[in-house]
Amino acid sequence: VGVSETDSTSTPDESGNGGGDDGEETTAQEETESAGPAGTFTLWHQRAEAEKKALEQNAEAFTSETKHTADPAEIADLRKKTTSAIPAGQGASMFDWAHDWTGEYYQNGFLSDQSESLDVDLSVYTQPAQAAVQFDGATVALPYAAETVGLIYNEDLVDEPPETIAEMVSIMEEHHDPENGKYGLSYPLNAYFMSAWAHAFGGYYFDESNVELGLSKEATLDGFRLILDNFVPYQPKDTGYDPQAAVFLEGNAPFAINGPWFLGDVKSNGIDAGIARLPSPEGDAEPKPYTTVKQLYFTTRVDEDEAKAAAAREFAEWYTTNTDVLSNNAEEFGYIPVYKELAESGDLPAAVEGFSKSVALGTPIPSHPNMGDVWGPLEDAFNSVKNGDAELQSAFEKAESDIRSNWE
């Protein structure tokens, strides 16, 4: 008879990391449902106000339901914080962001591949969501919502949402009167917001599978032309987010092309808004907006400590599959579920319904690291065309060559 070691999996934490953000690690407690010791992990997010509060409540619920502890922390500039802390071996085990950093961060070695350890089968999520959380065969996050832009209309000014661009233009025409502070459309013109049209005629920004640019393809340019011809004339001349948002929020524009995050402001400004899918151009073209998938990333910090990893995984699994949480998110904040059980149930709130139609049409933003280099030159090119400084074709050819030179 000897003394048996009861706990061989977890070693007492020596805080070898120099005291990170994750606080105290608790040692083994054997009697809980899942095997392994209880862990505490930090979750970084950049949510504000109500969304932040909801996340905190969810974390509390998780902590009380399980042996693990989730510790959400609001970060002012998540990108800067993650890129400086994680490489230094610091930072949170998990953070909350859209899927567009997946490739870049994974390549930089910020993220941890949890594909082997996850209990949940990715097939419970919608197809685009599955794609979003994976890169290079690794699963680095779990998805909980999708997001994209749709058409938001002021119900006081528009009776029926337009089906086609032509219909929309005629309504915009009717309202557009900049001299008196009235505009036809509120539409922040950045690359993400514009993607629906660039993709509408078969064009594309970036082909992830072949690592190829499609900016100067005629079909892509048609999409840009559509924006320039049909939307730009009805917008305030400053196409930044805030000035565009302002005209709709003040009730001075019948339409806004924007995402679910906009609805909070719309509501608090007392605007009665309806949500519809984006109108179609002539012919059989359909707007195909980029969609983003909101997800919980696992950082390399989880590799240091199995208890922490288990806690993080368990929270992610719980959060992304708990229908209460998800439907509440959908109702309150317009988060479009990607958990199939809910996404396909058909009883989504009205607001989500409108956006989820757009999502259905859309394609996820490529998570390839090269995508990060595309946005800037694309917007520069579009702006110079819009300002009349350059020709469409040549501007985007130049953008492509800029991007390629940066890829090298």
């Binding site: 609001e74 800067k80 802390a85 610091q90 505009y183 608090s268």
Partner: protein, 358 residues
Amino acid sequence: MSVLSDIAAEVGDDVRTAARAPVESLKDARYTLEGIREGRVSAASVLKTAGITAGAVVVVALLLFPLYWVAVGAFSGTGASLYSSSGIRLWPADPTIEPFLWVVGDLILPSYRITMGLGGYELFVQTPELAFLDVSDYGVTETSNFKAFFVNSLTVAIPTVILAMCLIVPGAYALSRRQFIGRSKVLYGYVLFTQIGGGLGVALLIALYALFVQFGFNDNKLALSAYYAATAVPFNTWLLKTYMDGIPVSYEEAAMMDGAPSWKIVTEIILPLSKAGLATVFIFTFLTGWTEFVVAQTLLSTDNYTLPVGLYSLVGRYSIPWARFSAFALTFAAPIMLIYLFAQRYIEGGLSFGGMEG
């Protein structure tokens, strides 16, 4: 300490003068009017004064208009935007102090029980709960973390100032009053680094962060203070040195003749005489700790956020809640304004670069 009590006395003076200012100017006006009537003062000259003053007011108003515009936004409540498609509003359409209440939150001093042992008996005083402001009275339910950020900012800014002073004052004194090896090199280096300390970019930030982690100092407010103090050293040492250059050497010589040892000369003569310079350095180092964003954001965890980081965390992914953002920023700047208002005469003296005339 006598420096502190001096400053307190002078602040008191300032407050009194400020309070009396309206009365005094009223008296001035009456005397002037009488003067005009009796022909002692020429009306043309009074008109000229009035006209020029009005012109100055217009200039000041123009300069401050952006701030006024922000303030209008802050008082307009939720839904306010920097952009208003319905024209410039010089007055909030529907004035409310809700954003400020949201920023400040409750100001309630909880009741304390102060006890005192007294020969077997125990005396205690139960202080009443002091509610200066209970925002729920105004229908504001949720509030910002301003107070927590404020405390964090103070706990960063105060050690910054203390540490910086400890580093700057001796250095400035030595550079101003003594000749030693490498003096001019240090001076040149400092002048150089007064500016190029910032702007070195992301890579530098990463290196800095790695450095902090190396020593286990990340998320340590004191370490952050040390960093701020370090960055404040070149410019402020140099500034104070320039100021000290203007203090006549004869005071020091007089003290030396009086038999004072060097350190006494510094504490009893040089420091009190450098009050203006010290006040300036104080403000500048305080500002360093108070307004810095990037490094604080990188280094601190959420619980330790300072005000600028707190302010910036109001910025959403796409939009900014303007009313609250503005109210937060204005409240944030208020202590600086107050400090400056009282330190004004010192700062203007402290920046006069007296030693450079020529």
